[in-house]
Amino acid sequence: MKGLLIRSLTLVLLFAFLMAAAFQLNPFGSPAHTVMDDYYIRNGQAETASNNIVSSVVFDYRGMDTLLEASVLFTAASGVVMVLGRRGKDEKKD
């Protein structure tokens, strides 16, 4: 019972911190710094010749993040195969 009380108090404290952070952000609809994104919208179509600015940001201006994220997904798939991919009775004969 005492552990439950301490955990609930910690969660209420965390909720108070999150609410204080939510009220200190910029108002919804006017972001703080837009210099880089205005450059992407103005020059993205001329430099990368693609209509989709989000696609050119993901694959051209920030392509390194996408490469590492694709390798994270492949690592997760190979990790699941390593944990769950045993092949049956052949394993016991080693």
Partner: protein, 162 residues
């Protein structure tokens, strides 16, 4: 630890579900390929398109059952995912003259290099440089990885006790 094995999934679901799955396979594939190929013109791209194609594997596993699920080979699908990832890294090396991941095919007049006017326009297909090949490589890799995850989890939880 011995447990009674569940025999209700040996043949899959009923005949209505099987026919619906085999009929729906073609529109799902076409939708996934459309989202991947038009990634530089409409919202979407490689990642949602690959996820749509991976739902084909889950549909097949649910409808066909335990016995027929052994027809899918885990090694070949995983190999296709690896090929997709290496291809994506290879397309980054095309523009190494300036930087890694430089879009050397855009505005150049070769395979994907049409110029487009600034502003609102209906989309033109052969533009955007090296971005459409990257979309296809990422779509192949995401579809293969999600299929392998679903296949391995299904086979492990549905097989008999040893």
């Amino acid at each position: 630890m011995k447990r009674k094995t569940d025999k209700s999934m040996d043949d899959g679901m009923s005949i209505i579900v099987k026919v619906a799955a085999y009929v729906l396979a073609v529109p799902i594939t076409i939708l996934g390929l459309y989202i991947i190929l038009h990634g530089h013109l409409t919202p979407g791209g490689g990642f949602p398109g690959g996820a749509v194609i991976a739902t084909l594997t889950v549909l097949f596993l649910v409808a066909a059952g335990k016995e027929k699920a052994k027809a899918l080979k885990r090694d070949m699908i995983s190999f296709a995912g690896g090929v997709g990832l290496v291809l994506f890294a290879f397309f980054g090396f095309i523009g190494t003259g300036t930087t890694f991941f430089f879009n050397a095919l855009a505005n150049s007049g070769s395979l994907f290099g049409m110029r487009i006017p600034f502003g609102v326009n209906p989309g033109y297909m052969w533009t955007a440089g090296v971005i459409p090949p990257m979309n296809m490589a990422v779509g192949l890799e995401v579809a293969a990885s999600l299929s392998v995850i679903a296949l391995v989890m299904f086979v492990y939880t549905m097989e008999d006790e040893r």
